[in-house]
């Protein structure tokens, strides 16, 4: 750690007080909005609507801290169901595209077949296409096949929209694996499928993990795809959709909105902080999601 800081400091030089204060200033500016929401969510509704959250911060002992907002929002606010729905949507919508993409990237990288280069170019080219281009025709297909409002429908939608980036990132990684390992595996009698599950998957773990975090955050935080294909009925609607509709009823639900906001953020923030390393890797490998 120290070594890295010393090495890196060489590039731009050591900072004095001015530098330290500027860094602190940006950190504070970037933190205040979320901090405000957190503090507000822990105050009673009457106080939160009459005085600023910072007043509680300056007199922490005379403030009545409460978890009522959370109890309300999870109990009657429908946020608990939405939370579970978000999990139901996000976990398969992360694993399915990774699985499909890893198989495809492996074949594109290591198995010869007709049209390989062309098909790969098409898939990568699809990175340019915004998902908006798919919405109208897909919605029509979904409506005529009664796929709207189903979990299968949204898993596949997120899979389709995530696949080009997934294949691109995983191909970049898998194609760099050493050739010898495949040759010796085949000599030992492995089929391409066993070579894939026993060699490619474990060796590609860093790339799989970094795409997994991308996709997880993307799906969990998505509003548009969920609104279009899953809708707003409470038995299937996800957190972002519930939160957005709660925000639309500003006024009577302000105190619920703060707690609901935090409920929707807690999972992605934890995943993100725990797996930051892989996420940064993925970012640096070039993120160009359509």
């Amino acid at each position: 750690m120290t070594a890295r800081v010393e090495r890196s400091s060489g590039v731009t030089g050591k900072g004095g007080w001015a530098v330290r204060i500027s860094v602190l200033l940006i950190v504070v500016l970037w933190t205040i909005p979320s901090l405000g929401l957190l503090v507000s969510s822990l105050r009673p509704a009457s106080e939160a609507t009459s005085t600023g959250w910072w007043t509680a911060f300056f007199s922490p002992f005379s403030t009545q801290w409460t978890l009522d907002n959370y109890a309300n929002v999870l109990g009657r606010g429908g946020m608990f169901d939405a939370f579970i729905n978000s999990l139901i949507v996000t976990i398969p919508a992360t694993v399915i595209p990774i699985t499909l993409a890893a198989f495809a990237a492996y074949a594109f990288a290591w198995i010869k077949f007709r049209g390989r280069a062309f098909l790969f170019a098409v898939v990568v080219g699809l990175l340019v296409v915004p998902l908006q281009m798919s919405l109208v025709p897909l919605l029509r297909i979904y409506q005529s096949t009664e796929m709207t409002g189903t979990f299968l429908g949204i898993w596949l939608a997120h899979t389709g929209f995530g696949l080009p980036l997934a294949i691109y990132l995983l191909y970049n990684y898998i194609s760099q694996l050493p050739k010898d390992i495949f040759e010796s595996a085949y000599i030992d009698g492995a089929t391409p499928f066993t070579a894939f599950t026993r060699l490619v998957l474990p060796l590609s773990f860093p790339a799989l993990a970094s795409f997994a975090i991308f996709q997880f955050l993307w799906v969990w935080n998505d509003l548009l795809v969920a609104l279009v294909f899953l809708g707003t009925t409470s038995d299937v609607s996800v957190l972002t959709v519930q939160l957005a509709s709660l925000a639309g009823t500003r006024g009577e639900a302000v105190h619920l909105l703060t707690a609901a906001g935090f409920v929707s953020m807690i999972v992605p923030v934890i995943v993100f902080l725990a797996l930051q390393r892989f996420f940064v890797r993925g970012l640096l490998a070039g993120s160009v999601k359509g």
Binding site: S8, T49, F103, W110, L126, T159, F161, N221, L284, G290
Partner: protein
């Protein structure tokens, strides 16, 4: 493309029965998945076991079905191919691996994108010409506002995110608690745009002047004797207030990429300049920035594409009212409010056309850095 490894030729084994068995198992797997999905769609299926247990069981079934289903299918189909005669297996094998992905991409991206382009010209209002979706769009004042706003977003958000991200990366590089400081700026990247809108809705909160302000910005303004401002209602401040949210979300991304780039600049380069008498600022602008130009372009174009498609923030905070309309929201409204699908497809095509040049710059830049495919 990398060199393909020569595959082993499976021995001719005449396992006809094995192949049939695989087909039977495959049919069974498909039936089980179908059954599971039916149960998942049935609102009554979990009603009997109480709200909590029912919901959790539903989640478990969904996750097992989704993940287990895809793997079971791969395993069965692969087994089937391996049990076919060798010469057929060799031909089919690669398709077992790529076809599922290609099929999904075909159904979810290729076909709809082509359809959207065609529909934008064919699905026109009564008596309209081929281009009438587009001419109607450009004649519509709301769409004009949306286009103008998208340009404003595009000019302000990526530039601001890059400048702040770069400044912060360079500054944080010189303090002791660098990684901790960076984490604070980085975290908003994990927050949804809906969540960010809720957060900033409180930051921008406005009360009648003289009353205690609950929004922190207006509290500061009022404290110093200024007039509180309704940030989300006042035109044109409302659009900029929402752009600030995007910047708040994206600076972390800019910072991570640019920070890594800065650390990749050889120390000797800046050291030599310093010895030659270059000031810190000269060093920054004349050496550091040109050395990380590629990364700056990557960040700028990536954020620019995200900004062009911005939807959630405007949807949540103003619904596109008060002259805050953007194209992606306009498209959504065309679909669900006006039921004008022709218009919606035209909006999608406009977005697509706007994204292409930025993407070209992005890909060309990645290629130059040797990251491209």
């Amino acid at each position: 493309m990398s060199e393909a490894v020569k595959l082993p030729t499976p021995v001719e084994n005449g396992r006809k029965w094995a192949a049939l068995r695989d087909v039977a198992i495959g049919a069974g797997v498909i039936f089980v998945i179908w059954l599971g999905l039916r149960i998942l769609r049935d609102p009554e299926a979990f009603a009997g076991m109480g709200p909590l247990a029912g919901k959790l069981l539903q989640a478990l079934l969904a996750i097992v079905l989704g993940i287990g289903g895809i793997w079971a299918l791969f395993i069965v189909v692969n087994a089937l191919v391996e049990d076919l005669p060798a010469r057929v297996a060799v031909i089919l094998r690669p398709w077992v691996f790529v076809l599922p992905a290609l099929a999904v991409v075909g159904v979810y991206l290729v076909y709809p994108a082509i359809r959207t382009i065609i529909q934008s010209f064919t699905e026109v209002p009564e008596g309209g010409g081929v281009l009438s979706n587009y001419t109607d769009a450009f004649a519509d004042p709301a769409v004009q506002i949306a286009l103008r706003n998208n340009v404003i977003w595009l000019l302000v958000a990526p530039t601001a995110a890059v400048v702040i991200g770069l400044a912060f990366a360079a500054l944080a590089d010189r303090v002791k608690y660098e990684s901790l400081a960076k984490t604070f700026v980085f975290v908003p990247l994990a927050i949804s745009m809906v969540g960010a809108s809720v957060i900033w809705g409180f930051v921008y909160a406005w009360r009648v002047p003289g009353q205690p302000q609950v929004g922190i910005i207006n509290a500061v303004i009022q404290y110093f004797g200024g007039e509180p401002l309704a940030f989300l209602q006042e035109i044109p401040i409302n659009t900029f207030a929402m752009i600030v949210i995007m910047i708040w979300l994206q600076v972390g991304f800019a910072m991570v990429i640019l920070s890594a780039a800065i650390k990749g600049v050889p120390v000797e380069l800046t050291e030599a300049a310093r010895i030659d008498g270059a000031s810190e600022l000269q060093n920054f602008f004349k050496i550091l920035i040109p050395s990380i130009r590629g990364s700056i372009i990557t960040v700028f174009t990536t954020i620019a594409i995200a900004v062009l498609k911005v939807f959630d923030i405007v949807f949540v905070l103003t619904g596109g009212n008060l002259e805050t309309e953007v194209i992606a929201l306009r498209m959504f409204d065309a679909m669900f409010r006006f039921r004008n699908f022709g218009q919606a497809t035209a909006m999608a095509v406009i977005l697509f056309v706007a994204v292409i040049p930025i993407m070209v710059v992005n890909v060309r830049n990645l290629r130059k850095q040797g990251i491209g495919a």
